[in-house]
């Protein structure tokens, strides 16, 4: 018995079909992973904000009428994240994050704000996530870039949308954890002990005083 010879092109057909499927939806996968800003900033992560590097020169294949959004999600929502849900809807409302909405979208801008070439030297270009406190409780602004409600961790990605839907997305970032503040009562105040100088001073002075009193008694 001999096996039926397979069609020589069969092996390459399936991946090609899948690629065609993906590009038919028009979603370009950009090989860029968002990360925290490069320069050493004191406020890189605080208790409710963090600072990302701007995705400059990353989405240059996307047309200039597309809007690039930042998606902030809890790590559990990454696997089943649906790119087609529009920003500003209740499913992507910042004010329900993270209890009722596991991800929200904010910081929308066009590719013109992320140009090539990347940041000139001497300048710092960053994205501060969580800086808008004025709209933090304003439910009319579901795309508010409000302060994050807890220390996280959070994962972010960039998503480019135009009128017909998502056109490009970056990779998901590594989990970003913010700072947790300890209560001041946890600071240990007591127990530095006595320094050697103080002990020496006390003992020598006591001895001298004792000698003087003894001399007084002997004298009288």
């Amino acid at each position: 018995p001999h096996s039926r010879p397979r069609h020589p092109g069969a092996r390459t057909m399936l991946p090609l079909l899948l690629l065609l499927l993906a590009t038919a939806h028009g979603l370009e996968e950009v090989r860029y992973k968002p990360k925290l800003a490069g320069p050493p900033l004191g406020g890189l992560t605080t208790a409710s904000t963090f600072v990302l590097e701007q995705p400059r020169c990353i989405f240059n294949s996307v047309s200039s009428d597309a809007v690039i959004w930042l998606v902030v999600a809890v790590p559990e929502a990454v696997a089943k994240f649906n790119n087609s849900v529009k920003p500003g809807t209740p499913q992507r409302d910042f004010h329900g994050f993270p209890t009722t909405t596991p991800a929200y979208m904010t910081l929308n801008t066009t590719t013109l704000n992320y140009p090539c070439p990347p940041t000139p030297p001497g300048e710092i270009t960053v994205l501060r996530v969580g800086s808008e406190t004025s709209c933090a409780t304003d439910t009319r602004r579901p795309t508010c870039n409000g302060p994050l409600p807890g220390p996280g961790p959070y994962r972010v990605k960039f998503l480019a949308l135009n009128d017909s839907g998502p056109v490009a997305q970056s990779m998901w970032s590594d989990p970003i954890t913010l700072k947790t503040a300890k209560p001041p009562s946890s600071i240990p105040v007591m127990g530095s002990g006595h320094s050697a100088g103080m002990i020496a001073l006390t003992s020598i002075l006591s001895i001298l005083f004792a000698i003087l009193l003894a001399g007084l008694v002997a004298m009288l």
């Binding site: 004191g42 001073l201 002075l205 001399g215 004298m219």
Partner: protein, 260 residues
């Protein structure tokens, strides 16, 4: 029993010299303690709020002890030159009392200096700086003192927090309850200010860009003057007491050797 004239004369000369030195050191001690009590660096409110301001009590005692030493040294010189046993006995007894007070001052200054650790000031800063809900007048007074002192410290010394701006991030504070973390990761006094007293670049300060915010801590600016204060009172007092010990022993010997 009377010593030879030469021996007595030498002892008299030494005792007069010893008392002159004590008199001058007494004046110096008074001047030094007045300087410390006048608080040129404005750090007293911080100590007052720790309710542990005994290094100031030690300086106050030092003022009066220094003056007493000066007065007693004159008495001692008169008593030695006149060979008067009564005067010298009064001198010795009063000197011993002054000695005891100065000893208390030195030991207090040295002991309480050991309490003033960075953690003490950190806890106080976090609990009192810009605290808005004060319970009584005393609390309000201490809170205002701490807030004003810290603001002045941060502006004049270009510093932030006790160890650095991270103090405001690592711990909860009374400041944090009224100022959100996103707008005020640290107080705006930590920002580099222009001539008019407003931040040069507020966004740069909030981001923590080096050059737009003060990244070093204020502990050196606090502990420097306090160390000088405490060690100045304690060790100068110790030196005076060692010298006074020798002079007093000599005086007691002299007293026991002269006749009425």
């Amino acid at each position: 029993m009377a010593k030879s004239d030469d021996g007595i004369r030498i002892l008299q000369g030494l005792l007069v010299f010893g008392n002159v030195v004590i008199g001058m050191c007494g004046i110096a001690l008074t001047a030094e303690c007045i300087f410390f009590v006048s608080d040129p660096h404005g750090l007293y409110p911080l100590l007052e709020a720790t309710e542990n301001d005994d290094i100031y009590a030690a300086a106050w005692i030092g003022i009066f002890v220094g003056f007493a030493l000066f007065a007693l040294s004159i008495l001692g010189i008169v008593g030695v030159i006149k060979c008067n046993r009564t005067l010298l006995l009064v001198y010795i007894i009063l000197m011993l009392i002054t000695y005891a007070f100065e000893m208390a001052s030195c030991i207090t200054a040295a002991t309480h200096r050991d309490f003033l650790t960075p953690n003490l000031f950190l806890k106080q800063m976090l609990e009192r700086y810009n605290k808005s809900d004060t319970v009584n007048n005393n609390d309000k007074w201490m809170t205002e003192g701490v807030t004003k002192t810290w603001n002045k410290l941060m502006l004049q010394n270009q510093c932030c927090g006790v160890r650095g701006p991270s103090d405001w991030q690592d711990y909860m504070s009374a400041f944090r309850t009224t100022h959100s973390d996103a707008d005020f990761p640290w107080p705006h006094h930590c920002c580099v200010m222009n001539a008019k007293g407003s931040p040069v670049n507020l966004d740069g300060c909030k981001l923590g860009v080096p050059g737009y915010y003060n990244s070093n801590g204020c502990y050196d600016a606090i502990s420097g003057p306090m160390n000088t204060h405490a060690w100045g009172v304690a060790w100068f007092g110790f030196a005076i007491l060692c010298w006074t010990f020798c002079v007093l022993l000599g005086t007691m010997f002299y007293w026991s050797r002269i006749e009425y």
